[in-house]
């Protein structure tokens, strides 16, 4: 069997992606609230963690999330120019670009880390992004980081 077949086999039938979602307080977190009160439907795959600004996102949060079993990480911040703290989202943008390059070297698929600008009024956009991402991760299957880092291969 190829690696791919073995991986497919190991996936439980009821497996659903788990996405750690870091949302900025001023835009994307409010958008997720709006999506809720507007009764928009999207897959229950995200675990939302509110941060004050996408610039607060320590790249350690992302590596922690993967090491503890997240299948993907979604980061939501204010549109460029709209940051409540002037330029936090630009810092986030640069970090995410660098992080993506590092994660690629670690063998992670690019789709597993996504940064989106979603303003407080874009509840619909939030639902779309989460649906799209869940779909993409469902296709990729579970992330192997946790399994790999927990077992030393001798």
């Amino acid at each position: 069997m190829s690696d791919n077949q073995i991986n497919k086999q190991a996936i439980p039938a009821n497996w659903k992606p788990r996405i750690a979602a870091f949302f900025c307080n001023w835009c994307t977190y409010t958008a997720s609230d709006l999506a809720g009160v507007s009764r928009l439907k999207y897959p229950a795959t995200i675990r939302v963690i509110r941060i004050m600004c996408s610039g607060r996102l320590d790249p350690q949060f992302v590596t922690d999330a993967f090491a503890e079993g997240a299948d993907a990480v979604l980061i939501g911040g204010c549109h460029p120019g709209d940051c409540h703290y002037a330029n936090g989202n630009y810092k986030c943008l640069r970090r995410v670009h660098l992080l993506k390059k590092v994660l690629k070297q670690m063998g992670l698929e690019e789709e597993r880390l996504r940064l989106e600008w979603i303003s407080a009024s874009e509840g619909k956009r939030l639902a779309e992004v989460v649906s799209e991402m869940s779909e993409a991760i469902l296709k990729l299957g579970p992330c192997k980081v946790k399994q790999v880092v927990e077992h030393y291969e001798k």
């Binding site: 790249p59 090491a67 630009y90 986030c92 790999v148 880092v149 291969e153 001798k154």
Partner: protein, 325 residues
Amino acid sequence: MANESKPKIKMAVYWGAACGGCCVSVLDVHESLFAVIDAADLVFWPIALDTKYADVEAMEDASIDLCLFNGAVRNSENEHMAHVLRKKSKILVAYGSCAHMGGIPGLANFSDRESLMRRVYDESESTENPDKIRPQHHYEVKEGTLEIPVFYNDVMSLGQITDVDYYIPGCPPQTERLVEVFMAIVTGQPLPPKGSVIGVSGLAQCDECTRKKSDQRSVKQIFRPWEIEDDGETCFMDQGVICMGPATIGGCGVRCVKGNAPCRGCYGPMPEVRDMGAKLISTIGTMIDLEKEEEIEKVIEQIEDPAGTFYRFSLPAAKIRRKLS
């Protein structure tokens, strides 16, 4: 001179997957070596003494007072000796970057056993191996069975294999720090809590570095050290050269920067840091002064091998500690 009647402590120095530099750093105590020998009996030190493994295995448990284990754990021999020395030692110190966090050998976690073997025994330009012979763990000859250690897929730090009392980081550790730690043990000073990283200052490299740093970094291009004309005074980061200083704990005396080379991060992270490389990503993301996505991508493209640079000494200790296959 030490009092003749004072009992000497028993000391061992061992290398796992190491380059030998740590053992040499012990020799770098220079004339203080006499003070060391006055206070300690070196019972096991493969670089200098011909003590056999069987002799160590025959020692009583907890009979070695201080063991400096340098090097990562890369094969079954390293692991076996880690367990033996743990049992025989009262204080087991992970000495140097490799024992502390995996170090340079830990970069092999970007690869795996099969690719390494293939490269070395099949593909390398200087290899001629038509029969595709690979090292065998057991090999029968007429005199008996020959055994070589099993080469592991993953490189591990000492702390990932056995219980470690203290960590002394550095590639190699600054010898003065070793003498301080050694003297503290010999003179019976109170020791820090188990698991501490010792021989470090507690401040980041940047706090100890004397180069001029700007408050507002504005880097628009990343350079490799040979691409700039370093003025010897301005912070490397301000000049657009990646320096691990902001994420690295002090203790070495800013050796590399004093030698006009950027810090490589061998002393490891600050105490609260869980993932050293991630912290570097954070710092570099801050110092780049660009807002357009295409420009950001272009600058980040200029950083060669970011994972290998940021996790140069700490890959096996990172949150994502190896490349996924």
